[in-house]
Structures are given as C-alpha cells and as structure tokens.
C-alpha cells in the first residue's frame, strides 16, 4: 500500500470518527428530541421528565401521576403551524391565530395531558390521556 493511500485512509477514518461522534451527539437527544433542554418544560402543569437535576434540598409535596391510555383526535382547521410546545392554529375563517399548548389541564373531561401536533397544513392531531393524581409517599 502506498503512503498516499495510507494517508487517504487516515483522513477517511478521521472523517468517520467525527461523523460518528456527531451522530452520537444527535442520538443522545441533544438536537432532535429537546428532552433534556433545561429544566421546566411545562413545569407545574405536566410532570417534568427526568432532568438529571437534584436542586431542591427541602421537602417536596409533588403528587404522583398515573396515566390512562393515549387516545387521539384529528381536528380540521384553516391553518396549523407547529411550535416547540404545541401548535398555532387559525379556524372558522378567523384571521387570528391562537395557541394550543401541550399541557396537563382540565377542560371539562377531568384532568388530562394534552399534546398537539400539526397534521399537514390544515389539520392538527391532539393526543390525550387521563391523569390520576395521588399523594403517595415513599
């Protein structure tokens, strides 16, 4: 094998190493999922996913959440734009957009966790599940 070929091989290997590390970083959830981007996404309104933080030295009163099965509906709108924590929609011929934010809330059907995703430009999908709150202490 010539020296030139060996050099090319080294360069290719380096390129691959860099690429693998980049893909690994993306896979670690730091570009696509947003799961670990800071504490407090929807805080107070939906259970905070594991943050890796251990910040509070006092007692915590937080409840325990138990979830029901996920159900979903597709809703037709005039226009839908995806946001990082919900969707912006316009409907019934109105020009104003309003936001449907991913959250845990009670809209008359008991406490549910809602998640909104645009489904094309003129529909959104709302996924929801019942949430049961209990205060159990370990």
């Amino acid at each position: 094998m010539s020296l030139q070929k060996a050099k090319k091989g080294v360069v290719l290997a380096k390129t691959m190493v860099l690429s693998i590390v980049m893909i690994g970083a993306i896979g670690m959830g730091f570009v696509l999922t947003g799961e670990v981007y800071g504490y407090g996404t929807n805080y107070g309104y939906s259970p905070v996913t594991t943050t890796g933080y251990d910040y509070n030295p006092g007692y915590e009163y937080g409840p325990t959440y138990t979830y029901g099965k996920i159900k979903s509906n597709i809703v037709k709108v005039d226009r839908c734009y995806q946001s990082y924590n919900g969707v912006w929609v316009r409907r019934f011929g109105n020009k104003r957009y309003y936001k449907l934010k991913d959250a845990m809330k009670d809209t008359g059907h008991g406490l549910r966790e809602y998640e909104f995703k645009c489904y094309g430009n003129d529909k959104y999908r709302v996924a929801f599940r019942d949430v049961f709150v209990s205060y159990q202490w370990n």
Partner: protein
C-alpha cells in the same frame, strides 16, 4: 487595504476568538435579559439573602462565619447595591472566567488555534452554561481563581498565595481539586517543590487564620454526614451531592468532546502534567462520590476541554488535504454552536418574573414581625431573598419546626384542626405565600374562614 486584509487574515484565530466571545457573552446574559431576576437558578434568592443579611448584621458575632461575605461586604462598602453585586458582578465574573481560560490555554499551549478551539468548547459547553445559570456564585469565583492559579503556577509567581487564599476563603470546596493537584506536583516536580511549599504553606496558614470557623464547619459536616454521600440519609444526600447536573446529563451534553478529552489526556498528558493531574484528580473525586461531588464536574469539564482542544487541533491537521474532512469539521463545530444556542433559547426559568414581582410586594402587606410561610420548598430561596420576613419553608431554613410527616398533614390532611395545631406552634402571625405551582392549595385555604385571602398568592392565618 490589501495589506490590512492580509494582517487580519494572518490573525484570523484571534479575530474568530472575538466572535466566539461575543456568542459567549450573549449566552451568559440571555436568561437575565429575558427573565430578569427570575432568569437565574435556585441559589439566586439565597445569595440575595446572604449579601443583604451579612451587611445589615455586620459585626454580629452570632452569625456563622462565611468567607463570601468579605467579598460582598467590601463591595457594599464601596457603594454597590445588593442587586448589582448579585447580578452585575456575577455576570462580570462570568465574562472574566472565559477570558482567563482563553489566556491560560494560550499560555500553556502557545498555540492560537488550540486556544480558539478551547474557547469554542468552553463557550458552547452546556455544563458550563448550566453551572453559570444555577448561580453558584462562590463556585464561579472559585473557578476563576483556580484558573488564575494555573496562570501563576506557570510563571511560578507568588501571587499563587493570594489566589489560593481567595479560593480557600470564598469557596473552600474549590480548593480541594487544585490543592490536591498542587500537592501532587509538589511531590513529583523537584524544581517547583520549594515554590509550592512556600505558596501552599503560606496560603493554607492564611486561610485557617482568616476563615477558621468556616473550614471547621466543613470538616465537621464531613464528619457528621460521613464523607461519602451514598452513606447519608435520603434527604441529606440530595443536598450533599452538590446539586449539580448528573453524570448522565453531563455525558449527553459533552458527548461532542468528551472522547477527544480522554484521547488528549492519553496522547498529550505527559506534556501538560499539571492539567493531567487536575483532570485525573477531579475524575477520582467525582467517582468516589465525596461530599458535593457533582460540583467537581465543573472543574473536570474545564480540564476536559483543555485536552479535547489539544487533541482536536492535531486530529484536524489533515483538513488542509481533505475537503471532506474540512466540511465535516466545520459541521462539527457548527453543531456545537447549534446545540448550545438551542439549549439556551429552550431554557426556562424555575420561577416566572411575575412570581418574583408578587414576592417583592409581600413586605408591604405583611407586618415586620410576622412569619411568611411557603408550602413549597421550590419557592423558598426566592421568598427568603426577595422579602425581609422570617421564612418558614418545608425542610429548609431556621424557622421550620415541622418534620416531614407534619408537612404532609399540612399539605394533604383532611383534618383542618391538625393544621391549626401546627400553626399554633409559632407565636407570631403567619402569612402564606402561594406561587403558581401552589394554586391548588388555595382550595384548601378557602375551605376555612381562619385563612383570609389578601391576594391570590398571599393568605393570612387568623387563629
């Protein structure tokens, strides 16, 4: 013009460093600019309370010794107000930290491009962003002087005495990794032995003389709670971890450079012995789970960045020959900026600005001798820092007289009389603060006329 362009082109690493520093400045100011006092982490309120309290009670011998107060009191004497010390000086130290890191890397490596790479890694490090955001004020000053110690060590300057003294006084924990590192250097490096013996000895004696009480309290804490966090109770262990990011979070956030750091240590560790020792010492301190061990990740990260930058510099030498590698390398660094930028803009505060505004109005509605009770330990530091009232909080501060089971009764109990009995233990009036997270509790309070609503977020107890 052409000549000037050529000069700039020759100095491109320095020019690029200025732009990277601009990104760093935006990155560090972002949360404060967006959310004001609510923009920083859990310790903000605690520091506000400390800065104000130690100055107001200057000379009070009952106050526990706290080296940081020497720093904050000096600034207060110079006419700086509490919030300027809290935010302006904190941000200033944050900026200086970046500058001193760049200078130190340049000094040790004597290479502009390695310094630039290190600056990029430091600027885009999510661990460093989190560290700054959580408002570990003393730790930040500690890190700043740890880096300055490396600078003085390089020149064998006796200013090292001063920097070690400041670290040991303001944040003794930061003295542990740098102290052990210097001790190891003292053992293996004959040339620096005398210099380190004098510097280390004088600074240690000065620290003990000036801050003896605080040092003893740390030693006694280690004795009481056991040196290893895993042996502590569940409640204590949360606090004794150092309350910083977990190893899992760190690896995910530092994935882009962590492997290169270890590769750098293996290949170039011998050339930069002091930094190798520093990296290894911090790794061991973290791995052993010693008191406040998570904070050692901050020092570890700085050393890791140092070696990652050196390794990446040599690793990417072939970019001149390969266009593909050049493109991938550019994407690699772009991903760092993207990752950091995305993390920054997605970050949400622990409390909202309007909650801070509510808390700040409390002093005008609550008598001076009344207690202010927060049912949520999450809000406790802000309530303590942004009011002048004595605060009762779950499991925190000096006025909490209830054990956890009693707090459970207070939060969730069916019997209102149990709540009243608990409240009667205090001999002064009590007002209850509810943050946005606590609004469910207003239903509990509204059930009984002994609780009088003043605002949605403030209730008076009338027994």
């Amino acid at each position: 013009m052409k000549k000037e362009f050529k000069t700039i082109y020759k100095q491109w690493p320095q020019v690029a460093a200025v732009f990277v520093f601009l990104f760093y400045a935006i990155n560090r100011v972002w949360m404060y600019a967006r959310y004001s006092a609510a923009g920083f982490g859990y310790d903000t309120g605690i520091y506000r309370h400390i800065i104000r309290g130690y100055f107001e009670r200057l000379g009070d011998s009952t106050l526990p010794s706290f080296g940081f107060s020497s720093f904050s009191n000096s600034l207060r004497f110079l006419g700086t107000n509490t919030d300027d010390i809290l935010f302006l000086w904190y941000i200033l130290f944050g900026m200086l930290l970046c500058v001193v890191f760049y200078v130190v890397v340049k000094l040790y490596t004597k290479n502009n491009i390695i310094s630039l790479i290190a600056l990029i890694l430091f600027t885009t490090s999510i661990a460093q962003f989190e560290f700054f955001w959580w408002f570990y004020y003393r730790n930040l000053i500690g890190l700043f002087f740890v880096l300055l110690s490396f600078l003085f060590l390089y020149y064998r300057s006796y200013l090292l005495v001063l920097s070690l003294f400041i670290i040991g006084t303001i944040h003794p924990l930061s003295l542990v990794p740098i102290g052990i590192t210097l001790l190891i250097v003292f053992i293996y490096d004959k040339e620096k032995r005398k210099y380190l013996f004098i510097s280390g000895g004088v600074s240690l004696l000065s620290i003990f003389a000036f801050n003896f009480q605080e040092i003893v309290s740390y030693i006694s804490l280690a004795m009481q709670k056991t040196l290893y966090v895993s042996d502590a109770s569940k409640q204590s262990s949360a606090e004794l971890t150092g309350q910083f990011i977990s190893l899992d979070f760190y690896i995910r956030s530092a994935f882009l450079y962590i492997f290169f750091a270890f590769a750098g240590l293996i290949f170039y560790g011998k050339k930069y012995k002091e930094w190798s020792v520093f990296l290894i010492v911090n790794t061991i301190l973290f791995a052993l789970g010693i008191l406040f061990y998570r904070r050692f990740l901050i020092f570890f990260d700085v050393a890791a960045i140092f070696f990652a930058a050196i390794f990446l510099y040599y690793f990417l030498q072939d970019t001149k020959q390969s266009k593909l590698l050049r493109v991938v390398a550019i994407l690699f660094f772009a991903l760092m900026f993207f990752q950091s930028g995305y993390h920054m803009v997605s970050k949400q505060p622990l409390v909202w600005s309007h909650e801070i505004s509510y808390i700040e109005t409390i002093d005008s509605m609550v008598p001076e001798d009344a207690y202010l009770l927060t049912i949520n330990s999450h809000y406790a530091p802000w309530v303590q820092g942004f009011t002048n009232r004595d605060v009762i909080a779950p499991g925190m501060f000096e006025y909490d007289e209830w054990v956890f089971e009693e707090w459970q009764d207070f939060w969730h109990g069916e019997d209102m009389d149990v709540r009243f009995d608990l409240l009667r233990r205090y001999d002064r009036d009590i007002f209850i603060f509810l943050g946005d997270r606590d609004m469910w509790y207003s239903d509990v309070l509204a059930r009984d006329s002994h609780f009088i609503r003043i605002k949605d977020y403030l209730w008076q107890v009338s027994l």
